[in-house]
Symmetry: C2
Subunit: 297 residues, 2 copies
């Protein structure tokens, strides 16, 4: 294309802020906004160049060909797009919204239909890779929506991540992310049980950890979260309350589709015990501590 | 040492036979035996050189400094070592038994004590890596027992595997393997739920599989068993009935130690449903088919 896409970012939290920084590094002219206007101004000032902050989401919409949204859940996405002074008011026909929020597939489909009525395309594009992936620009995107819109927006994706997988029409990206969360949650439970068992029977954890990573027991969870468990580091890279939001969406969708998921449901209940203990803000690896409380002192 | 160790192998099944071949390749003088004498003779003939087959386990014991046993469960290990014409009758003081069978830690400790009374050392050394690891000589060994005995037997281990981890006194190797099986079983359940969900909601499985392996959802199970599920290849690399034996041992031990493992218990019950359907000889990845039967047709 003749001139590079003008890009907007709405939602500048743990994920959105580093993604905006990577978009600026890749040379996109940025307009940013978030609920707290001062936060957007601080980020625009930090980025410098042509980056500008706006108070109204509609002003961001007016200034971009591609709008990236990174918000906590569907109500926030709906408000940002369709609320008073929402981005949809400003978006021109032909613009593309890349929604990186993890929300229900049916919400993604409903938002896509509402935008399509205005000539705007929505790609549901939830990510995997966490804050680390957002900072390093190595995110994986699970994408649903029009293939042609994805091709047009590809340079925007490539500024933020390393894998962009088109999985089908609107909602398919969210279903791919839901599948991802089944694995993330299940592998976490297996890891927590393994580490709780090994500690209780008195095995040397670092040596055992190294042996386990060499074979059929290995996983990202074992490599990354297993090390944190051994170091008793329960700081959040991915907080329990966020895992719980994703699992709640997943289990609702799975029931509607007629796919019983007893394992994922069990993890959801165990993490719910940790929330009841006031640990919702801890990292998911704190599931280990529940097993420690369950077992013999 | 002046002359290389003379090595015996008892149990020439899926694991024992390829391990014996690798020991012969590494130059050890082999004596082999198994329940079916003809099978031992065929293997010795195939290996050639100085390899010899014997009908009585005591004759193998008499001819080795290190005895490798690869048997289905504790009763078979007990019979091979302590039954009529068992290996213990032949083993000289100072000999080392390397038991690669997966059995309960308490059985390993009991066998070690009985052998120690005769001046013989037992290393419990269950493996991870499956038939493929046994053939390629890339097994991981979880070892319990005397560190000095392990050092003396190290060349024997190195002929069969690539990681040898000493985890503590007698029984510690079995406890390490049990920890391994918690992870293997839990990751299998998460994978089965993920693939059943993704298929039911209509996602393109090969593209999704590739996206999932790039991030926090990845595991050995996803990479290896996930591909088999997509290909609908349910042939056993690790059969359901063997996973069930290991989980039964694990859950008994966990209860004794006071570590409740609801996730591992759930996998055990789900696999038990497959056994009830006559699928105990299929590979563990056939757990996918149970989820398919559970859900909406």
């Amino acid at each position: 294309m003749a001139s590079p896409l003008r890009v907007g970012v709405i939602g500048l939290g743990t994920m959105g802020a580093p993604m905006a920084r990577n978009l600026a590094k890749a040379g996109f002219r940025l307009s940013v906004a978030t609920r707290t206007a001062a936060k957007a101004e601080a980020l625009a000032a930090e980025i410098g160049g042509e980056a500008k902050a706006f108070e109204r989401f509609s002003e961001v919409g007016r200034r971009c060909d591609a709008l990236v949204t990174c918000l906590p859940d569907a109500p926030e996405v709906e408000a940002a797009l369709f609320g008073p002074s929402g981005a949809a008011e400003g978006l021109a026909s032909g613009a593309i919204v890349i929604d990186c929020s993890t929300i229900a597939a049916e919400s993604a489909r409903a938002f896509a239909a509402r935008l399509f009525a205005r000539g705007v395309f929505l790609l549901d594009a939830p990510v995997s890779g966490g804050q680390k992936g957002a900072i390093e620009g190595t995110l994986t995107f699970f994408v649903g929506g029009e293939a042609a819109a994805l091709e047009r927006a590809r340079p925007v994706f490539e500024a933020m991540g390393k894998r962009v997988t088109h999985l089908g029409p609107s909602g398919a990206g969210q279903l791919g992310k839901a599948t991802n969360q089944i694995l993330v949650a299940g592998n976490l439970m297996a890891l927590s049980e393994a580490m709780a068992f090994a500690a209780k029977v008195g095995l040397p954890l670092p040596a055992l950890h190294e042996a386990l990573t060499g074979g059929a027991a290995n996983s990202w969870a074992l490599e990354v979260l297993g090390k944190k468990m051994i170091a008793r580091d329960f700081a959040p890279a991915f907080a329990i309350k966020h895992q719980q939001k994703d699992l709640a969406i997943l289990l609702r969708t799975a029931r509607e589709k007629g796919v019983p998921l007893p394992g994922a449901a069990l993890v959801h209940q165990l993490l719910s015990a940790l929330e009841a203990q006031g640990k919702g803000d801890e990292g998911t690896q704190a599931l280990l501590t529940l097993y420690e409380r369950l077992g013999r002192a």
